[in-house]
Symmetry: C2
Subunit: 639 residues, 2 copies
Amino acid sequence: MEGGDHLAHERKKAQFDVEAMKIVWAGSRHAFEVSDRISKLVASDPAFRKDNRPMLSRKELFKNTLRKAAYAWKRIIELRLSEEEASKLRFYVDEPAFTDLHWGMFLPAIKGQGTEEQQQKWLPLAYKMQIIGCYAQTELGHGSNSSKWWPGGLGKISTHAVVYARLITDGQDHGVHGFIVQLRSLDDHSPLPGITVGDIGMKFGNGAYNTMDNGVLRFDHVRIPRDQMLMKVSQVSREGKYSQSNVPRQLVYGTMVFVRQTIVADASCALSRAVCIATRYSAVRRQFGSQNGGPETQVIDYKTQQSRLFPLLASAYAFRFVGEWLKWLYTDVTQRLQANDFSTLPEAHACTAGLKSLTTAATADGIEECRKLCGGHGYLCSSGLPELFAVYVPACTYEGDNTVLLLQVARFLVKTLSQLGSGKQPVGTTAYMGQVEHLMQCHCNVQKAEDWLKPAVILEAFEARSARMSVACAKNLSKFTNPEEGFAELSGDLVEAAIAHCQLIIVSKFIEKLQQDIPGKGVKQQLGVLCNIYALFLLHKHQGDFLSTGCITPKQAYLANEQLRALYSQARPNAIALVDAFNYTDHYLGSILGCYDGNVYPKLYEAAWKDPLNDSVVPDGYREYIWPMLKQQLRTARL
Amino acid sequence: MEGGDHLAHERKKAQFDVEAMKIVWAGSRHAFEVSDRISKLVASDPAFRKDNRPMLSRKELFKNTLRKAAYAWKRIIELRLSEEEASKLRFYVDEPAFTDLHWGMFLPAIKGQGTEEQQQKWLPLAYKMQIIGCYAQTELGHGSNSSKWWPGGLGKISTHAVVYARLITDGQDHGVHGFIVQLRSLDDHSPLPGITVGDIGMKFGNGAYNTMDNGVLRFDHVRIPRDQMLMKVSQVSREGKYSQSNVPRQLVYGTMVFVRQTIVADASCALSRAVCIATRYSAVRRQFGSQNGGPETQVIDYKTQQSRLFPLLASAYAFRFVGEWLKWLYTDVTQRLQANDFSTLPEAHACTAGLKSLTTAATADGIEECRKLCGGHGYLCSSGLPELFAVYVPACTYEGDNTVLLLQVARFLVKTLSQLGSGKQPVGTTAYMGQVEHLMQCHCNVQKAEDWLKPAVILEAFEARSARMSVACAKNLSKFTNPEEGFAELSGDLVEAAIAHCQLIIVSKFIEKLQQDIPGKGVKQQLGVLCNIYALFLLHKHQGDFLSTGCITPKQAYLANEQLRALYSQARPNAIALVDAFNYTDHYLGSILGCYDGNVYPKLYEAAWKDPLNDSVVPDGYREYIWPMLKQQLRTARL
Ligand SMILES: Cc1cc2nc3c(=O)[nH]c(=O)nc-3n(C[C@H](O)[C@H](O)[C@H](O)COP(=O)(O)OP(=O)(O)OC[C@H]3O[C@@H](n4cnc5c(N)ncnc54)[C@H](O)[C@@H]3O)c2cc1C
Ligand SMILES: Cc1cc2nc3c(=O)[nH]c(=O)nc-3n(C[C@H](O)[C@H](O)[C@H](O)COP(=O)(O)OP(=O)(O)OC[C@H]3O[C@@H](n4cnc5c(N)ncnc54)[C@H](O)[C@@H]3O)c2cc1C
Ligand SMILES: [Ca+2]
């Protein structure tokens, strides 16, 4: 039993074409081919080894990250990788680094907010990494005397930063603007005069985000040349006069839509990784039933295990597809902006804000649930799950705190409703609000469990729930004389309405996906099962919303739950193949519990002995501390 | 602004006597006095410093733990501390160590399962720490050839273990029994012949549980002397004959009730710590409202912040009181057992299993929510929250996986219901099931929001919900011809019914607490607010249960939520004082964000510079990796 594929019997059970599903997951044959090739390239190169991360000290860890970043860049050049391939390579190296901020924030900020001239000056330097940049917005505390605090890449590596600061000319405060500031000498890396910069210290977890030099920055009388203010939207003239350009301010929102769309895509990656680990291990793990004496059961066959695991599997697919759609949305918005059409921007902005919040929150919780689904062994670093959680979870906070984002969505929903009266038609993901009269009084006509499999039934229930929750908020808000006070007082309900709206978006995009042509034996059918699991799981979890708004009856809620159980049974034989479809290498997964061949126990046993504590049989400290204790000699021991 | 108490204005707002609340929280004046004295003793002794934990390598960390354990033992002897004081001292040292298992599992196992003779032989050695023991039950995998895996203290320190293994005599399998096994030489600590033992490797987080040597153990032809089988309940004679003693087997359950009761008490400690940090920091932190330009608001004044934070504050108190009650329950059960009265044991067993599951799950999630409530800064190790989460979260898994425990509770509930017909009166926390007929048809008569403040109203709603969910499960189970199959199929619903039952227990014990005489100005009133917050928060969160079973109407659910909002406003001015009442030292809290004086920012700034990465301004690795990158020299660089 030592060698071979311990999950072969599971793989044989699959009722669909896994290879075809891989293409669907990747988005296209081309995307699959690139991912597959680059992930194998990384996995097969010992320079990208990462299993030792939890054991390294902060300094060793960080130095190792610098090595990997330099080596990755070297390979990118040597292999003449395209931009797409290069970014995939960084993705599969799977280690947060200053390069994330350089490529993901510094460059886009200059592209988005710099003038043509500024772009021509700075972008070529940045593209060749002759300068390294970060994005410095957040501050340590409140008040004017604060430091920049948190920017990734700032602490130890960046030579430059886009710094956000108040612009004051002639004693007038023009608000926050972006500036390109050089921080360190390009010769010896020492901070320039007047600049104090350092790392802000250890963060959550082993390895994890500690590979990143999140930094602190203080200025003491530092002069920033006028032409290093990012001046696409507003300018300061040589004479110190402030003015706005004719470029619309809204352009800036386009960048936010872009960044948040990538965060949604990352959510599906992180969640699918955790689900892949928990699913494979649940098929490997056997336990007695709670009535002793029964035969040993694969824990994946317990309904409780399924009811915790399969909704997360379905969520991973749901987030993948909504992420794909957001990519399209971003392209669409960009094209419209270029044509001076701003009509869809607020909706797109609210939609990406909400989806960022929802998918990151569900992913963070989902990773931790997957860890618990692995029982005790999930608590070991070698399971990969602790580090995956620790490295992922700040996504709930950065690029907009999740609660603050939901409040923005709620504000948009209330506004959309209030404009219905004046005849303004809601667009995009809020289009259903146009049918608000119907949605306020429609009745769900589910009679038997299978009725819940109909997309139209699901969609109407979710639309009605969301519309009714938003309308209830709007009604309650109208009772306040001061709208802002009302908004503050009711913000708890408003957040719940925003969540209902965003869940509807994800469900409806999954349903839309299924209306497309999807090739491959059984592929579409499996996705249908997952879509229904996702929707009915949400419906069960948020039963209270659906019942209190009268969208469904208790009997219908009961039938939905019954149908959900039946769906779990349908998903069960396909579970392993559904996670194989992610096409993750063992290197990328970084988990003994999730290894492809399922040969978990010998690998766990072997890995244990590599812990530094096992360097010696008798541990360091035995003579000084344990021996005197056992021998009752502590009184005289020096401790 | 640098010195002084930055939270003084908050402390002045309190509407109750904080000193009196401290006594309530501690349980008695005596308990308060001991905790206060010992926690200050630990806090003031630099030998117990712990803020460097995240930066230590595994070996340094572990050696440091050995030192602290020996030093603590030395102090316990020098100061002639009582057992109560000694255990408090270990508690406030706040670092998992082999001693936890020695005192918490090894000793109780011998006391619970050893004969008088065995106790006389082993206990004195263990009490003086002339031997160090652990508790070895869990195995790596399934199958007969597996290793012991996970026991704390086993990896590097224990000289002895209580090992659970199958007893086979004359070819007959008598099931799992406990054996005292010596693992290491008492002279030089080397493992005895045939014994392989080591550490299982790094676990979740920085510092955290990595101070513990969870271990792996293999035996190769090791003989265990017959008299080292724990023989209180069953014996093997010199001639190899197996027999049962007249001591009832159920005694063993008493030990489980004991251990799980301590876990519930620990839950309230861990959750209150996190809540204390998040509450103080929420009063320190200021942010602009989402509509820019408004004045800076303390984030604790946002309703969304309150609706996430205050239920956790209320839960900490709720868990404290239910834990106190469980301590009483354990004493009661023990006395009954000694009088050969087993009538309450199954109920006590189910109740502790369920409460262990509920409180540990809510605490783990609650700590993480508190971390998020602190925004980005909660992600720093110096906030204390990452380590608190990582060290706490395995409580959801050890001493019974939480899902498995809930299934046991559900089994007990179904059994209780089925015995109603035969006239068996349910006892203790299931007594309400005796009124099942009333509970199936009663109507909640809440008409206005304040009606939800009445304990009787809350209690009936929670009882009706729990009874109806259990009855629905029982009805659905009866449709299956094979009851075990039904139980497996419906286990998702059964778990939900078990949760409803356990939430009722916590709510009802909080209400019972309030029926006692509680001295101190305003103390009882504040606890009343917290009790109502706890109950109405649960009601809102699980609205779906209450509505689908028809226990309340949508209108009543709405009124409950309205009342909840009003309660948050009442709690707000008392929030800081309510966490001050935990009486935690800054040492025990281990969090810059939670420090008593609220002077957060200068401390964060100062702490950052202690990170090893800041040892040098230009980081290690710059010359090898960053310089060649900036200078386009990578092609020739050795990486
Ligand atoms: C790993 C990591 C990487 C980061 N990288 C960068 C970077 O590269 N560059 C950079 O500039 N920054 C970076 N940040 C900072 C990040 O953008 C901020 O942490 C984030 O914007 C949240 O702000 P905050 O930390 O001030 O939280 P706070 O705003 O202080 O949040 C604290 C609490 O207050 C609540 N709250 C705040 N405002 C409101 C409101 N208006 N209404 C209701 N509730 C409110 C929040 O919900 C939260 O519960 C990073 C942070 C992390 C953790
Ligand atoms: C930090 C830590 C310290 C520990 N210390 C000790 C120690 O000192 N001594 C010791 O002996 N052990 C110790 N343990 C082991 C611990 O007791 C086990 O991890 C725990 O009992 C859970 O068992 P498991 O790991 O086998 O999980 P599993 O049982 O494999 O759980 C995996 C999944 O299967 C599900 N599952 C399992 N059985 C069923 C069922 N019957 N019905 C439905 N679902 C089921 C679970 O819900 C879970 O989702 C420790 C563990 C940890 C993490
Ligand atoms: Ca570490």
